[in-house]
Symmetry: C2
DNA sequence: GTCTATAGCTTGATAGAC
DNA sequence: GTCTATCAAGCTATAGAC
């Protein structure tokens, strides 16, 4: 699914757009982001999107060609930002790992931190986008491929840094652990309302602080349990 | 989404069905399971399902009323089995935790084991079903609610057993850790093809043994890191 | 850039013959 | 139980006026 290649912007390099046009484009993207995140690609019609955006149906096709083109544009818009932030964070961490030197926790925090910061900074757009990522990540057949197309460079960068703090880890161990990380992280970001149900309304899916306090340590412990020595696990 | 209440079978208590009719019903369910898993509820038409099943369109409505009724029936069919197996496994473990006495690893294995066994035993039906679960689990708004309706009793049972091996854990810690477990586990079961892409084809999403060797220990380590003491984590 | 109008299909669902 | 036939509604996408 999707056909914009790699990390080059779909529709990039166009002549300068008028301010009004740019705003219209963004309104369509925002509405599409929200609705795709909630109901998936097929659960939404172009008409619903443009109605939500307050613009004419035909404009969606004018700006994005097809419904799929619109989906790709939504997916791409924030992927670019996300990738930049996470690469920068990993680079910063490698350059200066802090007091006790590099650690698994540190690397995971450097990777997850930017997303937590963005989430904490608020904005419905990002919340919707995270929910969309979780859905695509868990879509069989083309989900893995789509995630790979947009995010694999960052993930390979993460794996490189992880290898420096987990020198004995096998490739299999590292990749499976990343898969677990990916599932745990994106479900937490998706805000599905499950935690509300389980806790009888006492806890909130939107509690960023709660996730920040637990997720990096949870994930780092998992990596160490698998990638350091073997059963029984050793904790250096 | 969905409206069959609790764990009572939708359409249960009907008069005895003929064998041929029962087979037709199952064929529709199998096709629907496969296609819903691959493309989501809205990504599939009733016509595609019945075509795949080799039966007439009208029969889907005859047996299941609406498209949503069909979806509910698909979701319910295996949920019942899954719940029974997991409850039985947790009971067995509580009755006989094995040599070293009860442990976090043991509880997690008792919970995840039945799903790994079912997966290992093969059958496309179950693979499709797991993929469907992963999708619903990651669906915002109604995903959490739907999962809760079908699976919360088992999860509360799991949490009860976990409390006995993690006596000091707070409710918040336990529930967030479960949320991470849920995301990691279902993504691994969804076979999205991501691991193939990341490993350049050297690893397979369908490698049950690889998941069995790692996931329980990964998850147990995460629980211990969060639910035992506080930073820095202590490993008993 | 924006809108109207519409082409050309497909959809979920049902009525009724067999 | 199964199939044919069909309906009303909604869909993506486009052509062309402004």
């Amino acid at each position: 699914m999707g056909n914009s290649a790699g990390l080059s912007a779909p529709g990039a390099g166009r002549e300068p757009r008028s301010e009004k046009a740019e705003e219209t484009r963004e309104r369509i993207l925002d509405a599409a982001e929200k609705l795709f995140a909630r109901h998936g690609f097929y659960g939404v019609t172009v008409r619903q999107i443009t109605r939500d955006a307050g613009v004419d149906v035909a404009l969606a096709h004018y700006y994005f060609g097809t419904k799929m083109g619109l989906f790709d544009a939504v997916f791409f818009r924030r992927a670019e930002i996300l990738n930049r932030e996470r690469i920068a964070s990993l680079n910063r961490y490698e350059g200066n790992p802090g007091a006790g030197g590099p650690s698994v926790e540190g690397v995971i925090e450097a990777f997850v931190g930017p997303m937590l910061d963005i989430w904490a900074a608020g904005g419905n757009g990002w919340s919707n986008y995270f929910a969309l990522l979780a859905q695509v990540n868990n879509t069989p057949d083309w989900g893995g491929e789509t995630m790979a197309r947009y995010f694999d460079p960052v993930i390979h960068r993460l794996l490189d840094v992880l290898r420096t703090v987990l020198p004995g880890a096998t490739e299999e161990d590292l990749l499976w652990c990343y898969q677990f990380l990916s599932g745990a992280m994106l479900l937490a970001f998706a805000q599905t309302g499950r935690i509300e149900k389980l806790s009888d309304g006492r806890m909130k899916s939107s509690d960023v602080a709660a996730v920040r306090a637990r997720m990096p340590r949870y994930i780092a412990a998992g990596f160490r349990a698998i990638c350091v020595g073997n059963s029984p696990p050793l904790y250096p």
